[in-house]
């Protein structure tokens, strides 16, 4: 792997407008050599446009894109040191697998034994050895994607761009390909830049993720930072599932803070938030960080008390909805204030799902380091 801090792609103040629509709005970010970088965002957020600008299929309205230090302005897609795996894979249907993979080499003038060796090597990398003379219409979607991957990897690009690479695969295959793509990326050491709207995909594969919203970078962080320390409501809500409550900052000291939330009551934190006093803030609480208890036993109150001053980080409610997913169960709980909260609970033993059911009264508590305070 190359020096991890060396940026291979530098995007500087890039904007892209289609008529009156701004698809990408003044984006600046660096992608490091050798990393698995993911552009994550809802459809229409501009992430694909950004990827296509790196590939050269769209030209920035403003700003500059540098690949390996070289300004890409005026350089057409066929002369950029990047290759792309398209969403539809775009495997050439009239060519055998080997000819598909060899196409870029043929154009580049690589011939004979070297071309054959490189094609064989690329097909081995994607586990398609022996498929050389197949036609694309004799292959499954997953196999065609591997052909597209091999066809790009054989060019030994500085950066491999992947546009929604797993969106057309079924769930099982998608999970398998997530592993394989990460493995492949480590093996070849090429920088991967992937576009996806699927947060699971992003979290499981990426070194770093840029969450894109309305043409702008909402947050750039590692997967765990993105999940545990979202920078704003958009990221908190888009990445994973979350309960968000609006509140006012009533206490803010270096080692503790409290927020009065409408619907949830006083939320206590064991760290400061350095926000303006009395300001409107939002509290984000992940469903899995809330513990469910049978009420009346006092366990919840006790657990909450160990963590936070009495009466804080504790709530009561009634189970209104339940979704059993096997490994976890999701609860939709109506609080005494009428607000709704989502709680997930791992089924640690085979009988755990019998503990709670519709209409049950429950108590909840959460740790003082679980809520995330969002200022925007």
């Amino acid at each position: 792997m190359a020096d991890p801090a060396r940026p291979i792609i530098q995007i500087r103040n890039v904007s892209k407008r289609f008529g009156r629509v701004t698809a990408v709005d003044d984006v600046s970010l660096d992608i490091n050599a050798g990393e698995f970088f993911v552009l994550l965002g809802p459809s229409g957020c501009g992430k694909t446009t950004l990827l296509r600008m790196i590939a050269g299929f769209e030209l920035p309205s403003e700003g500059q894109i540098l690949i390996d230090g070289q300004d890409m302005a005026g350089i057409p897609p066929n002369r950029r040191p990047v290759n792309m795996v398209f969403q539809s894979y775009a495997v050439f249907p009239h060519m055998r697998v080997a000819d598909n993979v060899a196409y870029g080499l043929k154009i580049a003038g690589v011939k004979g034994g070297e071309a054959r060796d490189r094609v064989a090597e690329a097909l081995d990398l994607v586990k398609l050895g022996g498929f050389e003379s197949r036609m694309p219409d004799q292959m499954s979607g997953g196999q065609r994607q591997r052909v597209a991957l091999a066809r790009s990897l054989v060019m030994r690009p500085k950066v491999l761009l992947l546009d929604e690479p797993l969106s057309a695969l079924d769930a099982k295959l998608r999970a398998q390909m997530q592993f394989e793509l990460s493995e492949l990326q480590e093996k070849v050491g090429i920088t991967f830049v992937t576009v996806t709207h699927d947060q699971d995909e992003a979290l499981s594969m990426a070194c770093r993720i840029a969450v894109i919203n309305k043409g702008d970078v909402a947050q750039l962080a590692t997967p765990s930072d993105l999940y545990e320390y979202p920078a704003n409501r958009f990221v908190a809500d888009f990445v994973g599932s979350v309960n968000i409550f609006e509140g006012k900052l009533s206490l803010d000291e270096p080692d503790r803070a409290a927020i009065d939330c409408t619907g949830l009551g006083k939320v206590y934190l064991n760290h400061g938030v350095t926000g303006p006093h009395g300001a409107n803030v939002w509290v984000a609480l992940r469903p899995e960080k809330i513990y469910l208890h049978v009420p009346g036993v006092g366990k919840a109150v006790k657990a909450a008390g160990e963590d936070a001053p009495e009466g804080h980080n504790f709530a009561r409610g009634t189970i209104k909805g339940m979704r059993y997913l096997g490994d976890i169960t999701l609860f939709d709980i109506e609080l005494e204030t009428g607000a709704r909260i989502r709680v997930s609970r791992p089924n640690l033993s085979r009988r755990d799902q019998e503990d709670f059911t519709w209409g049950d009264k429950v108590s909840m508590h959460w740790r003082a380091d679980s809520p995330v305070v969002l200022l925007g």
Partner: protein, 280 residues
């Protein structure tokens, strides 16, 4: 219980029902009976060709020995071949242009390009007659240049068909394949050669077949643009029929049918039937 003994068929398997088979047979008969009669009577040993008087291949010899008829057939094949080649090039380029590029008056071009198909043939024929007379098109050129006027007229109504089939094929082209080719280093021209043309190949074959057959059997427009030295096969047959329908005409027509069937068969073989089916 007898009902259950009948061979079972799936709900939509109509081709296995008797009435459907009868119906298909009737349609086939209706479509091909005239042709079958034509072929059978080409072997009729009778001058007037109204009643069957016995088998002979005499009229085939006669037709093949008829220098004017053979010359007309040869003219027709030459015109058809030339018109097909030019129509294919023009039509394919027009289709790709309309699909790929934006240019001034594109809408107008798009609208008028299929005009030669819509305009009644008789009008087109008269128009060509007047046009060639007006520009003083030379009529005394040596073969094959004397076929120029007819060939130009044929290209006019053939190339819109090529444009039509190629455009419908282009509509199914995945633009990501074009981008993939360029992404792998291909220039615009290399992308055309390696990706786009293979994609439209079935349409090119279909367009060529259409052009060839349209040109080969065109009568109306050809009638107006042909001179005494440039008789085509359909025009010649017409002039023969004006005197009497002899088995010789049947024999010549049968030869033409056999020729077209062979050509179509070769084209299908060359292309693979699957590729042709893909266009639809």
């Amino acid at each position: 219980m007898a009902r259950f003994a009948r061979p079972s068929r799936a709900p939509l398997e109509y081709s296995r029902t008797l009435w459907m088979r009868l119906w298909v047979g009737a349609v086939m008969l209706f479509l091909y009976a005239p042709l079958i009669v034509l072929v059978i009577f080409s072997f009729n040993d009778s001058k007037r060709n109204v009643v069957w008087r016995g088998f002979t291949t005499r009229y085939y010899e006669k037709a093949l020995g008829n220098d004017q008829l053979v010359e007309a057939l040869f003219n027709s094949l030459t015109i058809a071949a030339l018109a097909t080649i030019v129509s294919l090039a023009l039509g394919a380029v027009a289709a790709v242009m309309l699909w790929r590029f934006r240019f001034p008056l594109k809408g107008t071009v798009d609208g008028t390009i299929s005009l030669p198909i819509i305009v009644p043939e008789i009008c087109l024929g008269v128009a060509f007659l007047m046009f060639f007379a007006r520009v003083g098109w030379p009529t005394d050129l040596v073969w094959p240049f004397n076929l120029g006027a007819i060939t130009i007229a044929h290209i006019t109504f053939c190339f819109p068909f090529v444009t039509m089939v190629v455009r419908s094929r282009l509509a199914s082209f995945n633009r990501e394949q074009e981008e993939a080719a360029k992404d792998l280093g291909a220039s615009e021209w290399q992308m055309f050669r390696d990706v786009l043309i293979p994609h439209i190949r079935p349409a090119l074959v279909a367009g060529a077949l259409l052009s060839f057959t349209l040109s080969l059997d065109d009568f109306v427009i050809t009638y107006f643009t042909s001179g005494p030295d440039t008789i085509t096969f359909p025009v010649k047959v017409y002039s023969m029929v004006r005197f009497s329908v002899t088995p010789e005409v049947n024999a010549a027509s049968t030869l033409l049918i056999v020729l077209t069937v062979i050509l179509t068969f070769i084209a299908l073989k060359l292309q693979g039937v699957k590729a042709i089916a893909e266009t639809h």
